[in-house]
Subunit: 428 residues, 2 copies
Amino acid sequence: MGSLPLDALQPLDPDTFAADSSAVVDFLAGYYRDVDKYPVRAADLEPGRLRRLLPEAAPEFGEPAERILADVRRDVLPGLTHWQSPSFFAYFPMNASAAGFAGEMLSVGLNVVPFMWVASPAAVELEATHATFQKGARLVGISPANFRVVPTAAASGYALTGAAVRAAVEGDVARGLVPLYLCATVGTTGIGAVDPVRELGEVARRHGMWLHVDAAYAGSAAICPEYQGYLDGAELADSVSMNPHKWFLTNMDCCCLWVASPAALTAALSTDPEYLKNAGGGKPQAAAGAGAIDYKDWQISLSRRFRAMKLWFVLRRYGAAGMRAHIRRHVAMAEWFERAVSADERFEVVAKRRFSLVCFRLRGGGDAMNRELLAAVNASGRVFMTHFVVEGKFVIRLAVGGAMTEMRHVGDAWELVQRTAEQLLQRR
Amino acid sequence: MGSLPLDALQPLDPDTFAADSSAVVDFLAGYYRDVDKYPVRAADLEPGRLRRLLPEAAPEFGEPAERILADVRRDVLPGLTHWQSPSFFAYFPMNASAAGFAGEMLSVGLNVVPFMWVASPAAVELEATHATFQKGARLVGISPANFRVVPTAAASGYALTGAAVRAAVEGDVARGLVPLYLCATVGTTGIGAVDPVRELGEVARRHGMWLHVDAAYAGSAAICPEYQGYLDGAELADSVSMNPHKWFLTNMDCCCLWVASPAALTAALSTDPEYLKNAGGGKPQAAAGAGAIDYKDWQISLSRRFRAMKLWFVLRRYGAAGMRAHIRRHVAMAEWFERAVSADERFEVVAKRRFSLVCFRLRGGGDAMNRELLAAVNASGRVFMTHFVVEGKFVIRLAVGGAMTEMRHVGDAWELVQRTAEQLLQRR
């Protein structure tokens, strides 16, 4: 395996990690020392002040942590209400502590995702492409019988097509049903397929459906011009989401949601209206100043974590150039793996690779041997891959994207897959 | 003001904070250095292994951070799937980075709650007691017209009574409606009122309603025996919640939810059934081992942060005795403030204080002067308090609970309130 001419961004280099983290610890210890010197409630700064202080775009090149912290001190702290001030007696307490912080650091630093008991590794992957969406629909009272899964096929790279979606919607309309919501996925979890956003957007517009574009994983790639075409038509969407905690160097959890009309969210989620005014006997709410945003009206819960801070820190620290190098580095590794698989006639690549995910299988042996191959590879403890089922066939997924993954790890993975496959084939 | 004979637990002492945090930074830097030596996927450990390693109860006395970290290394790391391993190619990537970590530390350390534009301070407090609950009801399709707010009065300390709730439920049943859900609050946000859980539980049981006990704020106090009586009857509840991020020294966010029957959650939130098996063409899920818990089936989203880590760290680091001292210290400060207000005939305490929240108002001057008093006190920048409306009257809330709050801060707040009130009264 050749070496790749890649930028040497090492986002989890232990020495850089320790140095940057120590700078933040010192910053925070100083903050606690001085917090009673700040006005407890944010000074009466006009809405939009911080936005005007910020540049229009992320920096092209990364900056040292100290410079970023200096900006936090100068621009962010004056705009905060200091919930940790000893003289904060408002709302309810919101405790911080050295131990709570230490435990949170551990959780954030280990950055594991305990969503299931992983000892049953065969169990999960099947549901990752629709599960949350389906749950959401069920929660708001939409019967599973009215939830449509439109089939996809190899010809479209397992993406939805405008024609298939149009036929499904028109069929439902003819039966007197009302089409409500359409989800286009840019980079499905299973195989990285890309739905045609513009085609689907046109169907959605024609029928008054809400179009959501789910770019949870692959949206990160859109920082590179060569991937922006996949979002063509996004201006037809009502909402677009991507998760920087997946492939954008931002620790769990952080999800970006763009909405074309924030008023649609606040109409559904605000609790200002009638009921409270009547029941509480209180005064109507003071109108917030122009440009003021109350995020409680954009979400279900009242409280909210300050997640923007970490995404901003990532963009400052690594710069747009660093982030592009990060994405391209992983894509190049996946390309290498894809070529290696294609060059070995015992294997086949299943579904076109678009980002950093390669789906493949052993040609001979059927599903049983592919299952066995994956189980043996994972049991070695040296790598961890998962699977998906495409048109009834079991395929193995190699999803490149770890902050510490280097070319040699991908190369080792391929050698391990080959060697294990040889043993299985010889045993037949 | 006298000094109080209180335990000297200082949860945000800057030196302890810096030392503990540095220990965690070193731990994590070492973890990143060695992560490729661990089996990537968690070894095949039996479900329940970690539970057996853990003691039955939290330690009575706090322990040093180093000892806790040694236990993490010995007991927790071997049970993890290492999402940050360079050879993790499963599911999707879940990026950590030095910058993402630094930004998250800042967010967690500042521990502010940006739920609204605070420059309109008059706007929020009214809705805190019901807003999220009402939103949830609306989201699952319950018409606001079918949402009952049962009035409370001074006689019951502004708590619900079994009689009033029974009358409301029976009235609805007589009209052919089906009662579904009853929320009892132990420590309301507005004034800290405590609903009679056992009485409400009996009504709920009789009518087959789900009883939820919301102890978000005051639940922390139940670590002290003298407050456990407020939860009498909780065995009749279907669910109980409390937020350690409020008053239990655990940084945002952390909410504990107990459910009497986890099967009720998984029946509503699991996505294993029919649809996916049919649509995906995959195999039915392997049955998880006895005792294995897949948290994805307890919640709406698939991913999940590892929040238990910080609550566990807090309990180890401060011990049950430290946590009781933390709670009692704040209650004692609130008692002192309550006595001071009561001793000044210009003021009145509104609603009985039960925990660390004191509601009071100036007797003369009506709502207008009380509003003015609060605005002036907050404008000083030296404290931040909020308000509530009780039976149409504007009351000022002093909510004690900050990790760095000492008796002198409460004393200063009272002096500031008195001095400001004097100026307002003289002006009349």
